[in-house]
Amino acid sequence: MRRAFATGNFAVAEGAMTAGLRFYAGYPITPSSEIFEYLAEELPKRGGVVVQMEDEIASINAVIGASWAGAKAMTATSGPGFSLMAEAIGLAVITETPVVIVNVMRAGPSTGAPTKTSQSDVFQARWASHGDYIVPVYAPWSVQEAYDLTIKAFNTAELLRTPVILLSDATIAHLWESLTIYDRGEVEVIERKIPKKVSDEPYPPHKPDEDLVPPMPIFGAGFKALVESLLHDEWGHYSPTNSVYHSLVKRLVDKVVKRLSYVYEQETRFCEDAEVLLVSYGSTARTVYLVIKELRKRGVRAGFLRLKTLWPLDEERIRSCCPNAKKVIVVENNIGKIYMDMSRIFRNQDVFPASVLSLELPTPSEVLEAVEPWL
């Protein structure tokens, strides 16, 4: 264990290395580039490979290939690059490839404001690619949590053989805070299952274990892997039938849902007596937390729910986190997206959007101004 004074981008890179990162491919883009640059210095010293590809499409596809060759692999990008990665996220889903994709959110649409912060990609992170699936999404609110959730992202990816998205933003990326970096052995690090031995007989390589996750027959070990982007049965054979479609898509979804209690994380404060619940996540939650403390000083019984996992949501835990709250106010730096989830989940309360559209971390007075009309 060692202490450092670091940015969120640095923390993501360190977290990835603690988790066992061995391959990074990327394409430079603000505000994510420091992750790439720091890894380019550090990772080769620790036996890993860092490469700059010709674009983000190449980067994510290389990361998926590297994972199949047995390496823990990651790429980091921001809005425009993340949009380019959309198709390959689906490839990672259907081929059940553990990879971590960091999206350091900046303001859009399009080229937008490269150096400025935003939370506008929270839905894109879930549904960037076409098709039916669930991809876990984590959103850190501090430098330490950027580190911790990067490790969690790798663990989730390896455990469930799925792509996982870490949604940081320009604020977290360039924020300086103290950081505790752990050594191997001091934190839980999960490794994917691989088949126990090379089978002499042909076997169905996509047949899952009880946890719905099949062991991963990585390349170069004699498994004769069959990685298939087409709809496939347990043998990996293309099979456009409803029975294969149902069983594959449902299993890809169910393997994540089954481990919801592992995947989903949240934090609550002041919820015991709270009458009004403020929901937030990522960098904006920092300001919301300050505002809640201010409101409580003024006598408003405000509670705090901070989502660390933005997808999938544990609706039961969310609904029951603050039993006495009559109102729910969702504060986020976008036009009101997680608000849509909350208004669905809190069926018996009044749920209000408190959007702060800001290129900087929302200030306490901006958040107050957005929240006050609903108090």
């Binding site: 061995r22 391959f23 491919a25 080769p44 490979v49 490469v51 590809m53 010709e54 674009d55 499409i57 190449a58 980067s59 596809n61 290389a62 990361v63 998926i64 290939g65 590297a66 994972s67 199949w68 060759a69 047995g70 390496a71 692999a73 198709e87 390959a88 490839l91 081929t95 042909p202 390349f219 170069g220 070990a221 004699g222 498994f223 004769k224 892997a225 069959l226 990685v227 298939e228 982007s229 087409l230 054979h237 293309y238």
Partner: protein, 276 residues
């Protein structure tokens, strides 16, 4: 019956249970595949290639489907993205011998930027591009290699563009090996692939192929034998031709041969050098 399982000399390289292939009768892709497997078989039996380290990667298209019949580590990934997928795999495990197989649309149109950069890096892989002059899998649309003036379903008035000469493109970059063969010369596919397997760096082989079903239909050569013999007539072998000679013209002729042979350090070798 065990005898029926492995009868053809190439059967040990195939997932025989999946045969017959999905390819149309007379499709050139199978000819290319069997030539490549003969070369690989030789390399394996002489001990210079470890079959457990061979990785076949393909994108989407008729040509891409070929890898699914191979009894190796295989990956059938996104349209155009086989090259970057293979780059990631090889960088993560440099023992892997990656062979990328794809159609000219897959490799040179949607995947064109990856092709350029993999060749520029002299990246450690063999890329075999099947040029059948058409987008076959999607039903006969214009491809980067479609000859000028040819009817396709998306150029009903005739292709207004002149075709891309991919050999000249890749030859202008830092590739160690650039060759063109034809399914009408399977022994050359075999010879070039055999050579490529033992080289370092980026190795590119264009295989001109028959597609009686789509391209053949468009140009009035729907019959497999007719299409094959018309292609055969157009193919001209040259010994070590220059890149200027690399003509690929359905009217004037298709020059095959080994255009570029270099022995420059590969990407991984350079990476290791830089690391010191």
């Amino acid at each position: 019956m065990a005898l029926a399982m492995h009868v053809h000399p190439l059967d040990k390289h195939l997932r025989v249970k999946r045969l017959p292939t999905i390819f149309c009768s007379g499709c050139g892709i199978g000819i290319a595949l069997s030539a490549m497997l003969r070369a690989l078989d030789k390399r394996i039996s002489e001990g210079s290639v470890n079959p457990n380290k061979v990785l076949w990667v393909s994108g989407i298209g008729c040509s891409g489907r070929a890898v699914l019949y191979l009894n190796y580590d295989v990956a059938h990934v996104l349209h155009g993205r086989a090259i970057p997928f293979a780059i990631g795999a090889v960088l993560a495990n440099p023992e892997l011998k990656a062979v990328v197989l794809g159609g000219d649309g897959d490799i040179a149109a949607i995947g064109g930027n990856h092709l350029i950069h993999a060749a520029k890096r002299n990246f450690d892989m063999v890329v075999v591009m099947i040029t059948n002059f058409i987008y076959a899998m999607t039903g006969g649309q214009v491809a980067p290699t479609t000859p000028y003036g040819v009817y396709t379903t998306t150029t009903p008035a005739g292709n207004p563009e002149y075709p891309l000469n991919v050999i000249k493109l890749v030859g202008a970059l830092n590739a160690n090996y650039v060759a063109r063969a034809s399914v009408t010369t399977p022994h050359l596919i075999e010879q070039y692939f055999y050579k490529a397997l033992a080289m370092r760096g980026f190795r590119f082989i264009e295989v001109v192929a028959t597609c009686p079903e789509m391209f053949g239909r468009h140009i009035g050569l729907r019959d497999s034998v007719e299409m094959f013999s018309e292609l055969k007539k157009r193919v001209v072998y040259r010994h070590r031709p220059s890149l200027e000679e690399a003509m690929i013209d359905w009217e004037k002729g298709i020059v095959i041969g080994e255009f570029v042979e270099r022995n420059n350090p590969s990407f991984i070798e350079l990476l290791r050098g830089v690391k010191k």
